[in-house]
Amino acid sequence: MAVHPTATCQTSTFLVATCLTAASSMSISPLTTSSVTTSPMTRYAMPHEVGHEVGYAAASGVFSATWLLLVLPLAGALILLLGGRRTDRWGHLLGTAASAASFVVGLVLFFELRGRGAEDRQVAQHLFSWIPVNGFQVDAGLLFDQLSAVFVLLITGVGTLIHVYSIGYMAHDPGRRRFFAYMNLFLASMLLLVLGDNFLVLYAGWELVGLSSFLLIKFWEYKPAAATAANKAFYMNRVGDVGLALAIMLMFATVGSTNYDSVLGAAAADIIGYGTLTAIALLLLLGACGKSGQFPLQAWLPDAMEGPTPISALIHAATMVTAGVYLIARASPIFTETQAARTVVVIIGAVTIVIGCVIGCAYDDIKKVLAYSTVSQIGYMFLAVGLGPAGYALGIAHLLAHGFFKAGLFLGSGSVIHAMDDEQDMRKYGGLWRLMPVTWVTFGLGYLAIIGLPPLSGFFTKDKIIEAAFDKGGTSGYLLGLTALLGAGITAFYMTRLFLLTFHGERRWSSSGERAKHPHESPTVMTGPMALLAVGSVFAGGLFIVGGTLQDWLAPVLGESHEEGAHTLSPAVVTALTLLVAAGGFAGAYLRYQVRPVEAVARPDSEVGLVTVAARHDLYANTFNETVFMRPGQYLTRFLVWLDTVGVDGLVRGTAAGIGGLSGRLRRTQTGFVRSYALSMLGGAVLVVVAALLVRTG
């Protein structure tokens, strides 16, 4: 709801608020009246699946406040959007408070969940019956289990930090309140996505997240580039959503319901035929690719950098783009059963890793590089979850770690851009480390984490994925492992390039003259969250992977990961290899960008190699989309408009003109001569006589 609040609309406030409270009051009523959810969640154990039981405990006690998680940011968004100018002064604080409160609730629920035994950590809360039509019973309900708990914490945690950061970053922006409103709307939609207990509720969250990313990308509306980027993002998300919608319809057609427990239970119990299951999995994958910017649909993510940097951090790095991975993890029973679908996931993951890395090296715009780095890191996650039961937990682990350090990197880049008053071209940076020490440190830690320096989180999560890739076994195992390794190397290269260009080397900017730059350290309200994220990016990996804490935590949802399987390569060897490759990437970048002087202006296409030229044009992904879809689409619409006016409408006007012409000709027969009329009379008489004779003799 992008109702621009500068103009107050009291009446719509009142009306919308009432319908909101009505919706929430309805949800409260089931809570207060009967703590047990209205529709009995029957529990059915799957015959042969070990320990993978699908069935949810009723939300009781503190869990009855699960909906609060969702409603707090939603309320914040509504108040800010409809509040109008009055809320300008304290609008941003309210937004941050809402996000923080939601984080606190998330923490409380998380620890309550930890307190419970391993099996009943899946708590479902029924809100109200959304679309009850005979066989199609869809209830709006929330599911707070291990997987969604982790995501809730990530979303609200990183979200709150970014809210705090935005207070500083958007301090001088006139539309600040609208920005925080959309951020809260985004949080609410993302939470709806992760907390939904039904694929249709997930779909609702899915599209609302797409909407909020659309709104935030075009936040600076007066820039045409932002508007086109926002539209492009929405269109591509919509293409993905078609896949998700079709998957849900297929589920309804086969299982008769879209709830997680029914669908995933049926998948686990192997009731659904292999073909249908693969179809569902592939369609879900299409949806995931659309949202997470994977191979066929990755063109929109770099353009989404038009939005303000906190958005790039929150939406296009930490949370929304990982929704695809969440979907595949949530639908793990389906993917476990279908080997074919998982191979496709793995292939897409691998291809995206390579695409992301290659293009990442060619761009000079700091945010574009980070965007492509996100694309390739998510490629890793897809690769992980594509490996089957072994990889789900690893994918999620890398996702969480990535959430921390990529958000940190983006916020760091934001503070650099902020300092260099909105200059995004790295070739205009250089030697900033002395002027912005805190940013340098926090950015550095994030950078080290992403290239996989041992103690930091990136090392643990990425190394495990590469190891799992090799453990897949057979030629495909090697192939995947090698691509992952190659990816790790190139990532080290472009991240080091970015780090050196930005903070080290000689200054390629001047503090005098008309393009004077006065880089200064960002205010603490910005550096604080960056520091916290830096801390997170240091310890998160270890916390999750060492001792398999995350894997055990997620086991009930994602199934046991077969740790003890045969290793094609011993873990030690894999780790050594990864470090070696990373060091190689680092050295290459160091030699290229630290030792040799860096030109202030990038060399023209003619002088650079073929690959770099291709990479500068996003490996011609955009040109491909334009030539295959946009150009023919425009011609088709123009042709159809012509066809409609000339063809269909022509037919209508044609008949009218035809009748007009006919009557014009008939008019000519009235010549005015009595004798010609007499002639026609005689002709008539002859016909009558002929008819009479025919009838009589006939």
Binding site: F673, R675, S676, L679, L682, G683, A685, V686, V689, L693
Partner: protein
């Protein structure tokens, strides 16, 4: 009574079968030729006369077919009254106007002939068929037992009396209609005698009456202009007698409505107020 005897007499004479056939085969071609002549005659009056002969043949045929009343009515009413009316109108409209037979409408002649022949063929052949299978005529002897006229009168005033009354009304309407169509409203006001005298002196035209035509005994005397007492001639007086009786040049030229022939002679004042037919 005499008419009835006369009718019966005529009927007997011609009704003997051979006699009937003979008269038929004589008069039928005459009737057809008369009809063709009427259609093809350039001069309308010749057409009218041919039509009259046609009607006579028809009258005879009526008599042949035991319809003496109709035969005579045909002759008396139809030929006598209607044809005469035609001739009368022809006289008014221009007796000697001969039409050019050149066809103006495109394809009218061809179509007319084709359709005419087709129509005739269609009518004749079925009737021809009827003749071959020899339908016998019931004959009117039974119906005419008390005399044709009495029988017709009986029928006319019993079954068809309503039709009879309506037809009489029709005739009256026709008469009134003809009068209305013929009547011409006077456009200018009624010229009183005072008005005529005023006009006679006002215009400065000739006041004294025109001298009589035959002032001199010589045959061309009527053409010579009259001499004035003071010498010189008075053009007005040289009014020639009319050449021939009021010929009206053919179709549509000259104002023969008023009958005067404007050869330089101003309209004689008061000679006649718009005489017309």
């Amino acid at each position: 009574m005499s008419a009835q005897i006369l009718a019966q007499a005529a009927g007997e004479i011609t009704r003997t079968s051979t006699g009937e056939a003979a008269t038929f085969w004589v008069l039928a071609p005459v009737a057809v030729l008369a009809a063709l002549g009427m259609v093809l005659a350039r001069n309308a009056v010749h057409g009218a006369l041919l039509l009259v002969t046609n009607f006579f043949c028809l009258a005879v045929f009526y008599l042949l077919q035991d319809a003496p009343f109709l035969g005579f009515v045909q002759i008396v009413v139809y030929t006598g009254a209607i044809m005469v009316l035609f001739l009368f109108v022809l006289m008014l409209v221009g007796v000697d106007s001969s039409d050019s037979l050149v066809e103006t409408l495109r394809g009218q002649r061809v179509a007319a002939i084709v359709l005419g022949v087709g129509f005739a063929g269609l009518l004749v052949f079925p009737i021809g068929g009827v003749i071959n299978n020899g339908t016998t005529a019931a004959g009117l002897t039974a119906a005419n037992d008390g005399g044709n006229i009495q029988a017709i009168a009986r029928l006319l005033f019993t079954d068809y009396v309503l039709a009879f009354e309506i037809v009489s009304a029709l005739l009256i309407i026709a008469a009134v209609g003809a009068m209305i169509l013929g009547h011409r409203e006077r456009v200018d006001g009624k010229v009183t005698q005072r008005e005529m005298l005023r006009r006679r002196f006002a215009e400065g035209g000739r006041v004294t009456p025109i001298p009589g035509p035959a002032v001199y005994a010589r045959p061309e005397g009527t053409r010579l202009p009259a001499g004035l007492p003071g010498g010189g001639t008075d053009p007005g007086a040289g009014q020639g007698a009319r050449e021939g009786c009021g010929d009206i040049e053919g179709n549509g030229d000259g104002d023969n409505g008023a009958g005067a022939h404007a050869r330089g002679n101003p309209r004689p004042v008061g000679a006649g107020k718009g005489t017309d037919r």
